[in-house]
């Protein structure tokens, strides 16, 4: 775990609340989210610790955590939170902020998602073979899932050609205008 200076950013809590539309003050640290989280074993911080980091205004630690990128969005935490906090949505918000602040710690996850969206932008739909190639190129992980390829190809589960949609210009327009609005 990287060490961080004990810097507290009081505005951070409010930013997360706005972005996620959840009231973080409702969290009383019962740990139910952690208890039910399937990916917790791979986290650097448990979910309730992430919630605590946000409550405590510890922006760097929260946004550069690995946990937020390993969250599988399975919604177990949201479903069982006794205070009705949409915890998965808070994790979403933290990812958005980490990306904007350039603090993505799980580069591979970030890269995979970038490749995924690039594929969507290019074809309108996900072109799985192209996605894998792009992801491999971006991360240098040339052998990712290469063991599955023969089986997938044999079963016809990996389309060899992209299914571009007809009005691909519309999709590109969406991405263009989205990027414009972000600036």
């Amino acid at each position: 775990m990287p060490s961080h200076p004990n810097v507290i950013d009081p505005a951070f809590t409010g930013e997360v609340q706005r972005e996620s539309e959840q009231n973080l003050a409702l969290c009383y640290q019962c740990g139910n989210c952690t208890a039910g989280c399937p990916v917790s074993f791979a986290y650097d911080y448990t979910v309730n610790q992430i919630m605590r980091l946000v409550q405590a205004g510890r922006k760097r630690e929260a946004l550069s955590s690995h946990a937020i990128w390993l969250c599988a969005s399975c919604e177990t935490c949201t479903t069982r939170c006794p205070n009705d906090i949409d915890v998965a949505r808070v994790m979403d918000a933290l990812r958005h902020m980490a990306r904007r602040e350039d603090m993505v710690s799980e580069k591979a996850v970030g890269a995979f998602w970038k490749s995924f969206l690039d594929s969507v932008e290019k074809h309108g739909r996900v072109y799985e073979l192209g996605l894998m190639a792009a992801y491999a190129g971006r991360t240098g992980r040339m052998f990712t899932d290469v063991d599955l390829a023969p089986m997938a190809l044999r079963k016809g589960k990996l389309g060899l050609k992209a299914h571009d949609i007809e009005k691909i210009a519309e999709i590109r327009g969406i991405f263009d205008r989205y990027r414009e609005q972000q600036q």
Binding site: G31, N32, A35, C81
Partner: protein, 651 residues
């Protein structure tokens, strides 16, 4: 009328933003005001003395005090008037503190406003009447609803104080939740050993009438004169004849009847006496399980009963009791944990409630005090206790802390170790709440001496695994997930309002909170009173409580009832409605809107007329606003008094 006006400075509270001297000077110009002055603290000893003196000197008939809200000192100044020989209702207050000096910043505007409020008060006072409180007879009896430990205490204290007591209990025996407990915290003494003698006292007290297996059907009347109709449910046994010998239960062939007293973890017979120490010790038949009552055949109990007490044709019976006061002590119910799907929603046989565990621990329980898994009867080794099930959980509408679960869970871990030295208890908790004499020491003992492993975190899910249960929790102090394989899981279910609490509150005309707990008159200063005169609260019906608090509140409610009924007559508030018979045309509109049924139609010289039952009228004035002729008038708030206020303000 000679009116005196006293304008209070309240130190600088009023005088800081109101020119009190100018207000007093203005008041001298109002009709019939013969004296006006300002005073530093009107409510103080010298302030009141000044009022008394002015009443004598200026032969005042009425007084206006311009000071704080009447909700604060109206009663104070009314007593002052009485000391000076005036009628207490010849008094009006102008609220120039809360409604003027504390909320307005502009001194000129405030002063103008204060003067107008005084003018309004003077104009009303000019139309005030010298009202006299009436008196009415009262019944020196009290009804206690609910025979748990709080109700038992209240009943015994009232009875010892000389009142006749009617104790109504819904179940076949009194004793309530406490009678189901094995031991009590923090002394670990036997629950039935300390409660039993009190239950026997109830049975033997000459002043107590006990209606078990009975519920309140309806309540009417008012303080001092309630008429309560009690439904005595059919036991299918003549209790006058039943000796409680138990022959019937021994012969009953319906042996697989769910056992309510044992929280459904054991079985009983269709006819039974719920537990050995039951009071009254009488048999009753569960009509849903009885073969005779469901299928028409059998009747084994009737054949063996030595006194011939069985009555298959028995019906519910209604009895009406006249009482002067009512003490509600209806207790609580346990949270239904099947709402938690992640804990199995009731599908896992060895995930049980703490009360069920209590019955397993009890020597008089279905396992005779041996801890056994309900599924296979095996003795468990690893036991997980989960706290806050149905407490502090907004998502299922139970945001409050039940308050006693931390303690009973600690007790149960101790008893577990006592019963099974090789066992291991785990407790998942969020916070340990143990304020109280010897309470925190007790929870520490559970950990330090009895080796209970406390883990700070909630449990997310329970999953069956290899005949055991995988309990998936978190240790938030460690920042890790925790998975424990348990043989038995005990849920510390929270308390919720007793079923039917809302309906009873409606009958008693008392308020209840969103969760169904009855509302006390004031959270600090009237903890056992309600806003309905003559109705008091004891025990967990007001909010979850442990045993000592319930007993204390039972005693407190009894003291209130004794004090109320120590007088021979009660005074009635004269600020009630009255009907001028000459104006009334008998149209009955007032009768149809009265929320209290305080208006009856009478015949007067052959004409229909409305008549107010003054002791029932609460003084809301709904009738006055409904009467087109203005015949019904709420005293002290008559049409003319309010019109005078409106005219004073607007013309």
């Amino acid at each position: 009328m000679n009116i005196g006006v006293f304008v209070c400075h309240c130190g600088s509270n009023i005088a800081g933003t109101v020119d009190t001297e100018a207000v007093a000077k203005a008041a001298l110009e109002y009709r019939e005001v013969v004296f006006a002055t300002d005073a530093m603290y009107a409510c103080s000893e010298p302030g009141q003395a000044g009022i008394v003196e002015a009443i004598g000197t200026y032969a005042l008939d009425g007084v206006v005090v311009a000071s704080c809200t009447p909700r604060m000192h109206e009663a104070t100044f009314r007593r002052t008037l009485e000391r000076a020989g005036l009628n207490r209702y010849m008094f009006e207050m102008a609220n120039i503190r809360e409604h003027v000096s504390w909320v307005g910043k502009d001194k000129a505007a405030n002063t103008r406003k204060a003067a107008e409020l005084v003018h309004m008060a003077v104009e009303k006072l000019r139309r005030n009447e010298r009202l006299q409180a009436g008196e009415f007879d009262i019944a020196k009896r009290v009804m206690v609803i609910g025979g748990g430990v709080a109700g038992i205490q209240a009943a015994l204290d009232c009875a010892d104080g000389g009142l006749e007591v009617v104790l109504v209990e819904r179940e076949p025996s009194i004793g309530g939740k406490m009678s189901k407990l094995d031991k009590t915290f923090p002394t670990v003494d036997c629950s039935s050993c300390i409660l039993g003698p009190k239950m026997v006292d109830v049975a033997q007290h000459p002043n107590i009438t006990l209606y078990a297996l009975s519920e309140v059907d309806s309540v009417d009347g008012f303080v001092g004169n309630f008429n309560v109709t009690v439904r005595r449910k059919a036991a299918y046994v003549d209790w006058d004849a039943c000796t409680g010998c138990g022959e019937c239960a021994a012969k009953c062939p319906s042996k697989k009847t769910p056992d309510r007293f044992n929280e459904f973890i054991g079985l009983t017979t269709a006819i039974n006496i719920p537990f050995p120490q039951a009071i009254p010790k009488k048999a009753s038949i569960n009509a849903n399980a009885c073969i005779k009552l469901t299928k028409g055949k059998c009747g084994a109990c009737a054949k063996v009963c030595p006194t011939g007490a069985i009555r298959f044709d028995q019906k519910d019976e209604l009895v009406t009791e006249k009482v002067g006061a009512i003490i509600a002590a209806t207790g609580y119910d346990l949270f239904d944990f099947t709402k938690y799907g992640e804990y199995g929603g009731g599908r896992y046989p060895d995930v049980i409630t703490a009360m069920q565990y209590e019955r397993l621990l009890s020597a008089s329980g279905p396992t005779e005090g041996h801890i056994r898994r309900p599924s296979d009867g095996a003795e468990p080794r690893d036991i997980v206790f989960i706290q806050c099930v149905g407490s502090r959980d907004k998502s299922i509408g139970r945001p409050y802390c039940t308050g006693f679960c931390c303690m009973y869970t600690a007790k149960q871990t101790i008893l577990t170790k006592d019963h099974m030295p090789d066992s291991q208890s785990y407790v998942f908790y969020m916070d340990i709440r143990s304020p109280g004499k010897n309470y925190d020491e007790f929870t520490r003992r559970a950990m330090e001496e009895y080796g209970a492993k406390y883990i700070r975190g909630r449990v997310s899910a329970i999953q069956p695994k290899n005949g055991r249960y995988l309990v998936k929790g978190a240790d938030t102090l460690l920042g890790r997930q925790v998975e424990i394989e348990a043989d038995l899981v005990v849920l510390a279910v929270g308390a919720e309002a007793a079923r039917g609490a809302g309906e009873l509150a409606e009958k008693l005309r008392i308020s209840y909170d969103p969760y169904g707990f009855f509302l006390e008159g004031h959270p600090k200063l009237k903890p056992v009173e309600t806003n309905t005169a003559g109705v008091y609260l004891a025990g967990s019906c007001q909010g979850p409580k442990d045993i000592p608090s319930s007993v204390a509140q039972g005693g407190a409610a009894a003291a209130k009832a004794l004090s109320l009924l120590s007088k021979d007559k009660l005074a009635s508030d004269p600020q009630v409605s009255g009907v001028k018979l000459a104006r009334c045309i008998g149209c009955g509109k007032c009768e149809s809107v009265c929320p209290f049924g305080a208006i009856e139609m009478i015949e007067f010289r052959g004409m229909p007329k409305a008549s107010i039952i003054e002791t029932v009228c609460q003084g809301c004035g709904v009738c006055t606003a409904a009467c087109p002729q203005g015949a019904a008038q709420l005293r002290h708030f008559t049409d003319n008094q309010i019109l005078a206020e409106v005219n004073a303000l607007c013309l």
